[in-house]
């Protein structure tokens, strides 16, 4: 049964309006990014011709290029770390029996409710004493363990047929080999789904990188751009908006590449 035509039109009207409203800030940032100093601090909505100049200024003079690299590196490392550690710990919970297993699992689960934000000062002092402030390690290591990932993979592993595991054991496959050669190939969709979540997560991190790094060379771009508000003379909004637009590019690419896998991975983990 097809929906009525009027319903379809109404749906389109609502969606188009919503889409427009949601795109306004982005379009606005894009327009401002093309304007010169004078236009960027005026009400003008006429696209200018300074896009390249603004992008170059923010990229080179204000170091956004360097900061983008930092963010991409941290994102890649955290995502990789979370994936590897979660695969291992999920395997431990599913394919082994060991003492206090329930307690260990509870301890991992409980961290879902422990936001690093509320621990910020203690974490900062800890990182300070480990000489991890103003280092990549400081930005990466505290975040590479993943309760979410452990849960996702665990649920997935639980559905792996018993026969497969037994067959592997009969063949004398060792646990680590089993993880790499059997579990990982079976988990790409989940890995993809988790990667999307992790990328969004790291891209949005703010509080910790804001305080853990104060040297511009090591700053993540989301922090660096806020800092630019104080650094760019007379607030050349064109330059700052060019920076804002640039930072959206990598996550957009990742969304487009991984969207399908995300939905599939999610569907696999979410239902029978």
């Amino acid at each position: 049964m097809r929906p009525r035509k009027s319903t379809v039109i109404a749906t389109h009207a609502i969606l188009a309006t919503a889409t427009f409203l949601f795109m306004v800030p982005i379009l606005y940032a894009m327009i401002k990014a093309t304007q010169n100093l004078g236009a960027s601090v005026s009400t003008s909505l006429v696209p200018g011709t300074d896009l390249i100049a603004n992008a170059t200024t923010v990229w080179e003079r204000y170091g956004i290029g360097r900061m983008m690299t930092n963010t991409l590196f941290v994102t890649a490392m955290v995502t990789l770390g979370k994936t590897i550690l979660a695969l291992c710990s999920a395997a431990a919970f599913v394919f082994f029996r060991f003492r206090l297993q329930g307690l260990w699992f509870a301890l991992v689960l409980f961290t879902l409710m422990m936001p690093t934000e509320v621990l910020i000062r203690a974490l900062y002092d800890l990182a300070g004493s480990m000489q991890m402030l103003n280092t990549y390690q400081g930005l990466i290591l505290p975040f590479i363990a993943s309760a979410t990932g452990t849960l996702l993979f665990r649920q997935h592993f639980l559905r792996i047929p018993r026969e497969l595991v037994e067959a592997a054991q009969v063949d004398g496959v060792r646990p680590f080999r089993f993880l790499v050669s059997f579990l990982v190939p079976l988990s790409w969709n989940i890995i993809g789904a988790l990667a999307v979540i992790d990328v969004i997560y790291v891209w949005n991190m703010y509080l910790w990188p804001r305080w853990a790094v104060s040297e511009p060379d090591l700053m993540m771009v989301q922090v660096g751009l806020v800092r630019l508000l104080d650094v760019v003379d007379g607030n050349h909004w064109g330059v700052i908006m060019a920076g804002a637009v640039i930072t959206m590019i990598p996550p957009l690419i990742i969304f487009m590449l991984l969207q399908e896998r995300f939905v599939r991975g999610f569907a696999m983990s979410g239902t029978k």
Partner: protein, 329 residues
């Protein structure tokens, strides 16, 4: 979204239970251990698991459990000079938080702002997901544009909204000019809070939409078709069939959005400087100001403990309520 480790992620949490597994309930060790039993053939000896678990255990212990204990300890001290001087002060910090009228103000503010953001971002996302799922043309295109804001870091969204609502040259006031109103968005407490809420909802809807879209893919077509055959109106179908089926996802998004609204909103608060007059100074911002700017680490630690307790409580209530209400197909 969360810097919190990953409350973000757990679609697993609200997902329908698989086979005989119960849903994770960290509070009750008994249930958990039953839950945690492997259901498949296992490798032995169990000791090997140690090496698999070690990296996760080390990271969680060092970067979450240790700082948590340290925070609790710090909350019992009067700390000065960024830790240089520490004096045991018992519950003084807590007493101060409880007796200071200003702290009630910030609690109310935080709860109201967060509440609107949570409900707003989930409600809008659900509405849009429902429309997008009507198999209309261009749904992919709409969806891609609707989740675009997600590509903008929360902090950067804050900057963009600062410009859009700038009273002197911003988009909103120039659009309002024909109507002769020129609100001073950052001079009025309520208006500034509204801007903050809009920015947060704008930034978050995409995330919820992604998850709802994924959840829609998993809906059992037979149930939906049965409802269609019954001749139920679209609203009735949504109200009585789709919405209950989506409830595990709604529950999951409630939990993650809570974390977002309480913690990730820091980025916006910082861009707005917490002002005017503390209007956008939510608890996490105040806590951080105390920990890093005002040199009151002990007080900040007490705030941390209370905030942690509050979020843990809210999350637990949501999960418990959810367990009662959530419908599994």
């Amino acid at each position: 979204m969360a810097h919190v480790e990953d409350n973000s992620g757990a679609p697993a949490t609200p997902a329908p239970p698989t086979s005989d597994a119960g849903r994770p309930r960290p509070r009750k060790a008994r249930r958990v251990s039953a839950f945690a039993q492997p259901h498949t053939a296992t490798f032995s000896p169990g000791r090997t698991a140690f090496w698999f678990l070690l990296p996760t255990a080390v990271v969680l212990a060092l970067f979450l459990y240790y700082p948590m204990l340290r925070t609790v300890a710090l909350s019992l001290f009067s700390v000065r000079f960024y830790g240089q001087q520490q004096r045991f002060s018992g519950l003084e910090n807590y007493v101060r938080l409880v007796t200071d009228p200003a702290s009630y103000g910030s609690i109310v503010r935080t709860v109201v702002i967060s509440g609107i953001v949570i409900v707003g971002s989930i409600g809008i996302a659900l509405f849009l997901a429902a429309l997008l799922n009507q198999r209309i043309r261009g749904a992919r295109m709409y969806r891609l544009m609707l989740i675009w804001p997600l590509a903008m870091s929360t902090a950067i969204s804050g900057i963009v909204f600062l410009v859009i609502f700038n009273p002197n040259f911003g988009l909103v006031n120039s659009a309002l000019e024909p109507f002769g109103i020129q609100p001073e968005w950052f001079r009025d407490r309520t208006l500034a809070q509204i801007v903050m809420i809009i920015a947060l909802i704008w930034n978050r809807v995409g995330y919820n939409l992604v998850f709802y879209t994924a959840a829609y893919q998993t809906l059992p077509t037979d149930t939906l078709e049965a409802a269609l055959v019954d001749g139920a109106s679209p609203w009735q179908r949504f109200r009585h069939v789709t919405f209950p089926l989506l409830s595990p996802m709604t529950l999951f998004l409630l939990v993650t959005s809570t974390v977002f609204a309480f913690f990730d909103a820091y980025a916006i608060a910082e861009v707005f400087g917490g002002g005017p007059l503390d209007a956008t100074s939510i608890l996490i911002f105040e806590l951080t100001e105390n920990a890093f700017r005002n040199d009151r680490i002990g007080l900040a630690a007490a705030q941390s403990v209370l905030l942690f307790a509050a979020v843990a409580y809210i999350t637990t209530v949501q999960l418990r309520q959810g367990r009662r209400r959530v419908t599994y197909q």
